[in-house]
Subunit: 422 residues, 2 copies
C-alpha cells in the first residue's frame, strides 16, 4: 500500500482563523477506497518550511497531496514551491488555459483575462494540470524519481469542496492508474453503543472484550457524544473471510452486557439512522425545542429525504410562545417552571398535535452559562416524548459549555427518539 | 518566540472516523496569547512513527504538545512513548494518584481501584502529572535537554474539552514560567467583507490594496461563507505603534470600493455579532424556516444571552404547517408555490406576528439533492424579512450539496438580518 502524506498549507489554520476540514475528508475517502492516510502535516505558507518537510519525509512517502495555496493572491505559494524545489520555470499551459476557460463557462462567467490570466493558466513547466470540478483554479500533479523510487506530488486547492471533488474525480483515478494497487480486502466493523462511559466498558462491564476482539483485527475505542464506538479493522484474502470475521466480532460483543447499549452496527450518523428508521416504519416526527434552539430540527433536516418524515418544529424560547404556539398551560409553567418534566410533556404533546405528527419530542433546559439555580443548575434538561398512546418526560444533568450542552441535549433527545421508533 | 509543535496522536483521525478539533483550538489559543503554533502533525498511535517525528523535528522545536493516547485502553500509547523514548520506567506517582482521586470526587464518582488503578496514577518516572480539570486522566510534562537547548514535552488527552481546559489552566502557566517570553506586541487586524468574491477583490475592485497593506504587516485573505476576511498581522514595540498601524490599515481598506462590503472590523462570528447588535438596539427576532430546518435558530441560540432578543422559530417543513402555524395563505401557496417571494414574505410576517417580535425572517428554498425543477433548481432560496413598517423578500441561487446549501441559505439570511438591524 502506498504511503500517502497530506500537507495542509495554511497560515490561517496555524493561527487559528479557520479549522481544516481536508484532513478528515481525505482520511475518510482513502479509507473507504482501501488506501490509508499515513500522516498529515499542517504547515505555514512558507517555502523553507515546505522544503524541510519534503526533505525530511520524502524517503518514506510515495504520494504527497498538498491542500491550499493555489488561489490568486500573493500568499498562495504552492506553484512557487514546485518552481523552486524542482527547478521548473512557470509558464503558460494551453491545457490549463482550456480547463480554466471551461470552468468559467460552467459557472456562467466570462473568462476575463484581467483577473486570472496572470495566474490560473500558468504552471511550473512539466506539471500536469487537473480539472477543478467545482472551482476555477486547476490542480497540479508531478511525477519524479527519488533514490530509484517513483514519487507523486499532487496539489489541490484548500477550499474543502474543491479539494474533495478534485480528489474523487481526478487524483484518485490518476493514483489508481499510476500504482498497481493490490487488492487485499480491508474493512472495519463498527459497533456503536450509547450511555456507557468508556472507562467502564473494558474494565468492569466487559473486561475480556478488547483482547478477544484483538484476535480478529486492530481494535480501537472512540468516545462519541454520550456513547462509544468500538471499531475493529479487519483484513482478509477474500470477501468470505471478511464476512466470517465480521460475524464473529458482532457475536463477541453481543455476548457481553454491552448488548443492550448497542444502537447500530455500522457507521451511519445518528440523525441519518433515525430518518432511515422513521421512513421504514412510516412515522412522522415534529419537535418542540427550547434550550436546543432548533438544533434537533437542523440535524434531522441535514438528511436528504427528511421531509418525508419531519413535519416541523416550534422553537419556543419565550414562555408566551410555549403557550401560544404549542399550547403549554400557563398553570403548568407557573407551578412547575419552564424547565420541568411537566412542561416537557406538554411541549411534546403540543408539538405533536400542532404539526399532526406521530411522534413529538421536546427539550427544555438550561444551556447556560446564565440561568442556572441550585435546584436546576446549568446542564439540566427535560426531554419529553409523545405518541398517540403515551406521553412521558425525563430529567437529565450534563456538564459543559453552552454549545457543548446544546449538542449533549440534542443527542440525548435523538437517543430518546430512536428508542421510541425502534 | 518558542517554536511550538502539536502532535495529534490518533489512528481514528487518520482513518477518517473523527475529525480533529485540537489543532484549531490550540492554534487559536496560542495566537491570542502572543504565541504561535508552528506546525501540527497528525500521526498514528504507533511508537516508531512517533519516534521518527521526534527525531526529525526535535532540533527546531522548543515545545512539543501531544494530544491523545492517555486513555485507559490498550491503543493509548503516549506513556509507552515516554517510557521507551526517554528510558523512563512506569511507576506509581503519589501526585498523580491524588489528582485522579480528586477528579473522581469532583465528578461524584467513587475512585474504584478496579478500573483505573492500573492506569491513571502510573507515570513514567520523573514525568510531572498535570491536573485534568474536566476529565479523569492526568496530563504529562517532561523537561529535557537536547544539544544544549532546553526542550519541553507536554501531553494532554485527545478529548477536545479536556485538552483545552488542561492547556489553559495547566500548560500555559507552566510554559510562561519556564520561558521568559518576550513582550513584543503582535496582533491582527481583521476586516470582514461580504458578497464579493475573492478573485475580484485584489484584481478589479482594489488592485493596489494587497501591496499597500503589505507595507504594514503580513497580509492574508480568507474566504468565509459568502464573504472574505482580509487579515493583516502586525507587530509593534508598544501599544501606540500598534494603534497607529491598526488605524492606517482600516483607512486603506475604507478608501477602496470595498467600503460598502465591510460588515465588521474584528473577529466576532456573524451570529454573535447579530445578537450583540440586536441587544444594543433592543430588537427582538423570530424566524420561520423551511429549507434551513432550524439552522438559523440554532446559530442564534448558540450565543449566550440570545434569549433576550430571540423569541422563537417555526420550522415549517410541510405546507400545512406553513398555513396553520404562521398563517401563510393557502392561495399564496397554490398560486406561487412554497418556494416563492410571496410565500417568503408571508412567512416572515407570519412569524413576526405569531411570536410578537420586532423582526421576522424567513427562508423557503430547495436544499436538494431532490426537489429541484427547471424553474426552481436545487440551490434556489427565497429570504423574507419583515418589521413593523415593511415586509420584503428576495430570491437567490447558490450551488453545493445539501448541508452546504443549508449553511449558505442561513448565512444569506443572517446578512439580511444584519442589514435590517444596522
Amino acid at each position: 500500500m502506498p504511503n500517502i502524506k497530506l500537507v495542509v498549507i495554511g497560515n490561517e489554520i496555524l493561527n487559528g482563523k479557520i479549522f481544516d476540514k481536508n484532513i478528515y475528508w481525505l482520511a475518510r475517502f482513502l479509507n473507504r477506497n482501501n488506501l490509508q492516510l499515513n500522516q498529515s502535516i499542517v504547515a505555514h505558507d512558507n517555502y523553507s518550511e515546505l522544503e524541510k518537510i519534503f526533505r525530511q519525509t520524502i524517503d518514506e512517502t510515495d504520494i504527497f497531496i498538498t491542500s491550499g495555496g493555489l488561489g490568486p493572491t500573493k500568499d498562495d505559494i504552492t506553484k512557487d514551491f514546485y518552481e523552486n524545489f524542482f527547478g521548473l520555470p512557470i509558464e503558460k499551459s494551453e491545457e490549463a488555459y482550456a480547463i480554466v476557460e471551461e470552468n468559467y463557462k460552467r459557472k456562467g462567467m466570462d473568462f476575463s483575462t484581467k483577473e486570472t490570466a496572470n495566474c490560473y493558466p500558468f504552471l511550473p513547466k512539466g506539471v500536469m494540470p487537473f480539472n477543478n470540478p467545482l472551482g476555477l483554479a486547476p490542480g497540479l500533479g508531478y511525477k519524479f524519481d527519488h533514490r530509484g523510487k517513483r514519487k507523486i506530488l499532487l496539489s489541490a486547492p484548500g477550499v474543502p469542496w474543491e479539494l474533495s471533488a478534485m480528489v474523487e474525480e481526478e487524483f484518485y483515478p490518476f493514483i489508481k492508474k499510476e500504482l498497481s494497487l493490490n487488492s487485499s480486502f480491508t474493512d472495519r466493523v463498527n459497533i456503536r453503543t450509547k450511555l456507557i462511559p468508556e472507562e467502564k466498558i473494558f474494565t468492569t462491564i466487559a473486561p475480556n472484550l478488547w483482547s478477544q476482539l484483538e484476535q480478529l483485527g486492530q481494535v480501537s475505542s472512540l468516545p462519541q457524544i454520550i456513547g462509544i464506538d468500538i471499531t475493529v479493522s479487519i483484513e482478509g484474502k477474500n470477501q468470505n473471510e471478511m464476512n466470517q470475521k465480521r460475524t464473529e466480532i458482532i457475536k463477541i460483543v453481543k455476548d457481553t452486557p454491552l448488548k443492550g447499549a448497542i444502537w447500530q452496527i455500522g457507521e451511519t450518523p445518528l440523525n441519518e439512522f433515525i430518518v432511515q428508521k422513521a421512513k421504514e416504519k412510516k412515522f412522522t416526527i415534529s419537535t418542540a425545542e427550547s434550550c436546543t434552539g432548533g438544533l434537533i430540527a437542523s440535524l434531522l433536516t441535514d438528511i436528504s429525504g427528511s421531509s418525508e418524515i419531519f413535519l416541523g418544529t416550534a422553537v419556543t424560547y419565550s414562555n408566551s410562545s410555549k403557550e401560544n404556539i404549542i399550547n403549554v398551560q400557563n398553570d403548568t409553567l407557573e407551578k412547575f417552571g419552564a424547565v420541568s418534566i411537566e412542561t416537557a410533556k406538554e411541549m411534546a404533546e403540543g408539538t405533536r398535535k400542532v404539526f399532526g405528527s406521530d411522534i413529538g419530542i421536546s427539550t427544555t433546559g438550561i444551556a447556560g452559562p446564565l440561568g442556572g439555580s441550585k435546584e436546576k443548575p446549568v446542564g439540566t434538561v427535560c426531554i419529553g416524548i409523545s405518541d398517540h398512546n403515551n406521553t412521558e418526560a425525563k430529567l437529565y444533568n450534563f456538564s459543559g459549555e453552552r454549545t457543548a450542552l446544546k449538542t449533549l441535549f440534542a443527542r440525548m433527545a435523538l437517543y430518546t427518539l430512536l428508542d421510541k421508533i425502534s
